[in-house]
């Protein structure tokens, strides 16, 4: 410690004006994002996300290249003569052609990885603040309870968008460059808006859902179980009821992941007739469910966080 005479020399009264607590929430978001990035446990999943991106990136390139360069040629595959264009048929399901389906599929796959990371990271991001008592450090600073929730949601939002929206936009730019960029960008503005729309839907829904469940259950294992119930069991149940029991397609609304996908497809302007499986509820019905879940999470968080008091 410096001598008594100069210890307070560098520590001077603050003469400036502190910024709004919104900036505090932004800082909290950055810290949350850093926490997720630093966890080595998740690096395997980030690697997988990178592979998915490269798959779509080079897949788009490959499809265009084959169509333009070798479409009419015959190549030997396992000793059999095969049309080069037929080699990419297995990619048709992923629709690597710069259409709305391309971006919807990409965000669907990346969203799954984001969802798994978030299920595992929920306790670190939010639950531990309650469980291990970090909350007083946040709440003793000049921010309100709502800024705490906002900060945590911002961190999760940054993470989701880094995994879905940002690479989605990169794929969009790439698709424009692969096709005729002069017409592609102008003709496919809806797709660009759809990427942002689907990303925003995932961002809002998953961040609110994660903060709400993490505030409720706090520990990693219960949180993963809850998310498994929401995104896996409900999905299986919805599929069983609609596809297995031939019940009304609206039963698929209990599949929250599918609801998010439908909203995303609605944003991307994809024709409903091309959806798989075909028995699907209306997009507006899915949007209602997503909105309802978000409102329920906000109300729950308002009750749990807004009035939170540190008592132990």
């Amino acid at each position: 410690m410096p001598p008594a005479s100069d210890a307070l020399l560098r520590y001077r009264p603050w003469r400036g004006t502190l910024r709004s607590p919104i900036f505090g929430a932004l800082a909290m978001g950055r810290v949350s994002l850093r926490l997720m990035v630093r966890r080595r446990l998740f690096w395997g999943l980030y690697g997988l996300a990178l592979m998915v991106f490269f798959f779509f990136f080079y897949g788009q390139y490959l499809v265009v290249w084959i169509q333009q360069q070798t479409a009419g040629q015959t190549v030997f595959f396992g000793g059999m003569p095969v049309k080069a264009a037929d080699l990419t048929k297995f990619l048709d399901r992923l629709a690597l052609n710069g259409s709305g389906h391309t971006f919807a599929n990409y965000i669907w796959f990346q969203g799954y990885i984001a969802m798994i990371v978030l299920a595992l990271a929920g306790a670190v991001l939010v639950g531990n603040d309650f469980h291990h008592g970090s909350l007083p450090y946040y709440l003793s600073k000049p921010i309100a309870r709502r800024h705490y929730v906002l900060g945590k949601c911002l961190g999760i939002a940054m993470f989701i968008n880094l995994l879905t929206t940002v690479p989605g936009v990169v794929l969009y730019i790439q698709a424009g460059l692969l096709y005729d960029w002069k017409t592609y960008y102008a003709d496919h503005l809806r797709e660009l808006a759809g990427i942002f729309g689907y990303g925003a839907t995932l961002t809002v829904a998953l961040s609110l859902l994660l903060v709400a469940t993490a505030v409720g259950v706090r520990r990693t294992v219960p949180l993963v179980m809850v998310w498994t119930g929401i995104f896996v069991l409900c999905r299986m149940l919805g599929g069983f009821l609609v596809d297995g029991q031939n019940l009304d397609p609206r039963w698929r609304l209990i599949d929250f992941w599918n609801d998010l996908y439908l909203v995303g497809l609605g944003c991307l302007g994809v024709d409903r007739a091309t959806l798989r499986p075909p028995a699907q509820p209306e997009v507006w019905e899915a949007a209602l469910v997503v909105g309802g879940v978000c409102i329920a999470c906000v109300l729950y968080l308002r009750r749990r966080i807004h009035a939170v008091e540190i008592v132990s």
Partner: protein, 313 residues
């Protein structure tokens, strides 16, 4: 220092229930500056009072304000720095990153936050160790980092919950010096501690809590003077104890004298009046007083009397 005439921290008839349990009962307390020690047995309500003061908790009845702003309001927390008793950090962060993140949380722009974090870490003696990860810190280093995060936004009121726990004797002395300098620079410190000896070195002004109430507030001397039921005991070493005992028993404030081989132990009400009268007595009788030792005016003893126990907290 603020020119705002409102008290820095004001509790007005504050009560706090936790379900059926009454945590605080009609607390009224006003802090305007200097260092105030907060003492009391476990469960007396110290932590509850601190949580109310720092906006962590909301009173069931009454009002807690910081410079006139409700303590629950985030604006009030611009004036309050809180150093909790437990440490729950993000262990992967360095001390500097943690304090910097806390500064950003307060609303500092990036460059200012960096400067504030550096100067605050320097202040608490952690500048040279701030780039190590928190998980490698000793208990004392963690205490210093906690103090740094509390000081980073230059609060007027600093609330410290057990700030000396786990710090070695040399470190304690440094921290006590720092607290004194902060108080001298115009900050108001509310220090809750079980380390009564250390607290006595730091401040003479204490608030004693018992069963959810403020049992007494003021300097130790003022509190001791008010305790008429517990006469002050003073050991006086002299060459002629019996002669001194005779003179002492003639004094109006003395309620008892025990004669020992080396001197006497006298029990007196109204300590200040007694000491004035005793001084006069020594001058008049030319007694050879070798040593004068008050036995129960320490914070320990006062707390023991107030709480009806041994004084241990």
């Amino acid at each position: 220092m603020s020119m705002d005439p409102s008290p820095l921290l004001l509790f007005e008839q504050v009560s706090k229930w936790f379900g059926p349990v009454l945590g605080l009962n009609q607390i009224t307390l006003e802090l305007t500056g200097g260092i105030t020690g907060l003492v009391g047995a476990n469960g007396a309500g110290k932590s509850t009072l601190i949580r109310l003061a720092t906006g962590q908790s909301r009173p069931s009845l009454g009002r807690v304000t910081v410079r006139g702003v409700d303590a629950w309001d985030w604006r009030a927390r611009r004036l309050v720095g809180y150093c909790p008793d437990h440490d729950a950090f993000y262990e992967d962060m360095t001390g500097r990153d943690f304090v910097h993140a806390m500064a950003r949380l307060c609303g500092y722009p990036r460059a200012d936050a960096r400067r504030r974090a550096d100067s605050t870490l320097d202040l608490v003696g952690m500048a040279d160790r701030a780039d190590r990860k928190l998980r490698g810190y000793s208990k004392g280093m963690r205490q210093r980092v906690k103090l740094a995060q509390a000081l980073v936004h230059d609060p007027e009121l600093l609330v410290l919950d057990e700030p000396l726990g786990g710090i070695d004797p040399v470190g304690r002395q440094e921290m006590l010096d720092l607290f004194r300098r902060l108080a001298a620079s115009g900050k108001c410190l509310l220090v809750s501690s079980h380390e009564l000896e250390e607290l006595e070195k730091l401040t003479n002004h204490v608030a004693v809590m018992a069963r959810g109430r403020i049992a007494a507030v003021g300097t130790l001397q003022q509190i001791r003077d008010l305790m008429d039921d517990f006469p002050l005991s003073v050991r006086i070493e002299v060459d002629h104890p019996r002669e001194l005992a005779r003179h002492l028993l003639a004094m109006p404030d003395v309620v008892g004298v025990d004669v020992e081989a080396e001197g006497v132990v006298v029990r007196a009400r109204h300590p200040q009046k007694f000491f004035r009268a005793f001084g006069t007595l020594v001058v008049e009788t030319e007694l050879d007083v070798r040593r004068l030792d008050p036995l129960d005016d320490s914070a320990h003893a006062i707390l023991g009397y107030l709480l009806g126990g041994s004084g241990k907290t």
